[in-house]
């Protein structure tokens, strides 16, 4: 019986060893395959994350624009060229800029410096909406200043088209001449007119162009042409225009075009850039990213 068992034992041993050898070979071959992977994993554990390049800022664009504004204000005024860049994809048509502007400049009914034009594009079901905020374009070649009979509206060295309220006749020729409808006339109306009382907030002074003015009687700015002035009075005090700070989508950018490292200069180097009615040769200082 014992002798009978031996060959069996030998066969079992053989199979056992054979299996062990085969398994060992299999594991070894797998190990050979996995080695580079394991090494690669090990290698990644040692990879160092490179720091961001200096040109990419991590701060909020408003803070950056604010800093650049302060830098620009140190320059002589004729070396500045203020421009505005509006990213239409970021605009959500919340009208915060329109309302902020109206509050800042004490605008009466019908006078809107920065409306947001809302358009529907396409037909159902392929529809979309486009929002175009429309401030004054502060054209490099403005048709409005050209036609003013007394030169009451003029282009400042920093590119802002402004109006001398104490000079303006109110002939409204500039209203007809502006291709963007950016000019309004102050007819002397109040929002709370025809109510028991004109609310005191409408008679609060405003500080457009750095001058304190109260809208009352027939005094300027009543009877004048009015328009967006990039909030000159705020710029003079190192603040961004109201529409820029109130923009919840960070869709409006403002800065000095003459600063090649500035935010606005970098934004307009894009195929998405367009300006309104460029064929008229007005060279607007407001750029749109479509």
């Amino acid at each position: 019986m014992g002798s009978n068992k031996e060959p069996n034992q030998g066969r079992k041993e053989f199979i056992k060893k054979g299996l062990l050898a085969g398994g060992g070979l299999l594991v070894a071959s797998e190990l050979i395959k996995w080695k580079p992977m394991i090494e690669a994993v090990k290698a990644t554990q040692h990879t160092e994350v490179l720091p961001l390049v200096e040109t990419v800022s991590t701060e909020d664009v408003v803070i950056r624009m604010q800093k650049e504004l302060h830098e620009a204000l140190k320059k002589p005024v004729e070396e500045i060229h203020w421009i505005m860049v509006i990213d239409q994809k970021k605009c959500v048509a919340c009208d915060a800029c329109t309302v902020g502007c109206s509050a800042e400049n004490g605008l009466p009914p019908g006078v809107v410096y920065r409306p947001v034009i809302k358009e529907e594009i396409g037909t159902y079901p392929n529809v979309s909406r486009r929002f175009t905020p429309r401030p004054c374009m502060h054209c490099e070649n403005p048709p409005c200043t050209q036609v003013c009979p007394i030169g009451a509206t003029y282009k400042r060295p920093d590119g802002i088209v402004s109006i001398d309220y104490d000079k303006c006749l109110g002939c409204r020729y500039c209203l007809s001449a502006c291709p963007y409808g950016a000019r309004s006339f102050d007819w002397g109306e109040y929002h709370t007119e025809n109510t028991p009382e004109v609310m005191p907030y409408e008679l609060e002074p405003t500080f457009e162009y750095g001058d304190e003015k109260v809208r009352k009687g027939n005094k300027s700015p009543i009877g004048n042409a009015r328009k967006c002035h990039f909030c000159i009075h705020r710029l003079q005090n190192g603040m961004l225009p109201t529409c820029v700070t109130t923009c919840i989508g960070r869709a409006t950018y403002f800065g000095d075009l003459n600063n090649p490292n500035g935010l606005v200069a970098s934004l307009i180097g894009s195929p998405r850039v367009k300006r309104l009615k460029e064929k008229l040769g007005t060279k607007p200082s407001v750029y749109y990213l479509t």
């Binding site: 007394i150 007809s176 309004s184 004048n224």
Partner: protein, 407 residues
């Protein structure tokens, strides 16, 4: 006709009080009582300004041509034209005066010039033209009545001696000035590249031809009012020939403007034409400009010419119809262009309305009527006090049987 000076004093006092009231209201209320807005910023008053300036220029050109070519037959009519031209010019000035936002700053246009502004040039030329017409009127009156010529100063002697020469040279100056002033008014609109419908070279030409037409129509109208001028039928026929030629010219230039813009099919200009043809201004276009201004004028003219007796009053009615039509041309070429939004959707966002249709407010009409009536009263006063006009009226001793004009 009112002869008594006391009565005149009364009339002028009333007029002064009314003017004070109107101006007080205007200064205090600003322009809130008008129907103008930030889309249509120019309306009825600007239309009247252009209209009266056109009549003035047309009348002056008639005077100028008669004077230079020494057409004796039309001499009396030319003098009436000169005086009417002056009054319509002042009436026009009042319309532009009340239209501006700050009346008190009006004079500053003469110290703060802007050489690139057509309006600046226009206003300067306007004043020079007005002074020229006024001087001509003064020189035409020199030596007519003794009480004006018995002063023996060096200036008055020189003026009396050189009267003819001065009138001639002033007329030479006045004609190009008149053309420049009204061509300038057309250019005022034509140079605006933002408005495609205005921005055409024929626009100033339309203004000039319309001025010529309003001038000749006003002449025929005045001829009907001043019965004593007594022009022979053959000369009236000659006037009517000029009238019809200028009507044809005017229709031609207006149609050219409309045709070119219609054919070009550019969004902005086709929008203006749609407003005129079947939009909000269709009544003003089809009834006013085409119906009254062209068709009725031509029908009346045809009746006048076909009638062997050539009854003058039919021609006179034709001239009135034409004058009304020209007013509509002015209106239709100014406000509809402004009604078309510069950027689509802009009007909706500011005013919540898609299109801005301008209809003058009642107060705008009241102010316009007041200015016209005031001008009419001043005109009557002038007719009864200015020597040359008195001479015309009293010649052939037909006492005071003429009607007056409203220019």
């Amino acid at each position: 006709m009112i002869q008594s000076n006391k009565l005149w004093w009364g009339v002028f006092s009333l007029l002064a009080i009314a003017t004070f009231f109107f101006m007080y209201f205007r200064i205090n209320q600003g322009l809130t009582f008008t129907n103008l807005n930030n889309i249509v910023g120019w309306g009825l008053w600007v239309t009247f300004y252009v209209y009266f300036l056109g009549i003035s220029v047309g009348l002056f050109l008639f005077y100028g041509v008669c004077n230079i070519f020494n057409i004796a037959k039309f001499r009396n009519l030319a003098l009436i034209a000169l005086y009417s031209s002056f009054i319509t010019l002042i009436v026009g000035l009042f319309f532009i005066f009340i239209d501006i936002g700050h009346l008190g700053r009006f004079w500053t246009v003469f110290i703060n010039r802007n050489v690139s502004s057509v309006l600046s040039w226009e206003l300067h030329l306007y004043v020079i033209y007005m002074v020229t017409v006024a001087l001509l009127l003064v020189f035409e009156n020199l030596g007519i009545e003794k009480k004006y010529s018995n002063t023996e100063s060096i200036i008055s002697t020189w003026c009396n001696e050189n009267k003819e020469k001065v009138i001639k040279y002033l007329t030479y100056l006045g004609i190009p000035l008149a053309i420049a002033v009204h061509g300038g008014t057309g250019a005022l609109f034509a140079v605006i590249k933002a408005r495609v419908f205005w921005n055409s070279a024929i626009f100033p030409v339309i203004f000039l031809i319309s001025a010529l037409l309003s001038g000749i129509a006003a002449i025929i109208f005045l001829l009907g009012c001043f019965h004593n001028v007594n022009l022979k039928t053959q000369y009236i026929k000659k006037l009517s020939n000029i009238f019809i030629i200028v009507i044809v010219l005017d229709v031609f230039v207006v149609m050219t403007q409309l045709f070119v813009h219609y054919y070009s099919d550019i969004n902005e200009s086709i929008a203006v034409i749609h407003l005129l043809f079947y939009g909000e201004y269709a009544k003003s276009f089809w009834i006013g400009q085409i119906g009254i201004g062209i068709i009725l004028t031509l029908i009346l003219f045809a009746i006048y010419r076909m009638n062997t007796k050539g009854r003058f009053w039919i021609l006179w009615l034709s001239s009135i119809s034409c004058l009304i039509g020209i007013w509509f041309i002015r209106m239709n070429f100014i406000t509809p262009t402004l009604s078309v939004p510069l950027i689509e959707g802009l009007s909706e966002n500011i005013y919540g309305i898609e299109s801005t249709n301008y209809v003058p407010s009642l107060m705008e009409w009241i102010y316009s009527l007041f200015i016209i009536i005031s001008g009419f009263i001043v005109y009557l006063f002038g007719v009864s006090h200015i020597p040359i006009l008195k001479n015309i009226i009293h010649q052939k001793t037909k006492k005071g049987d003429f009607d007056e004009e409203t220019a």
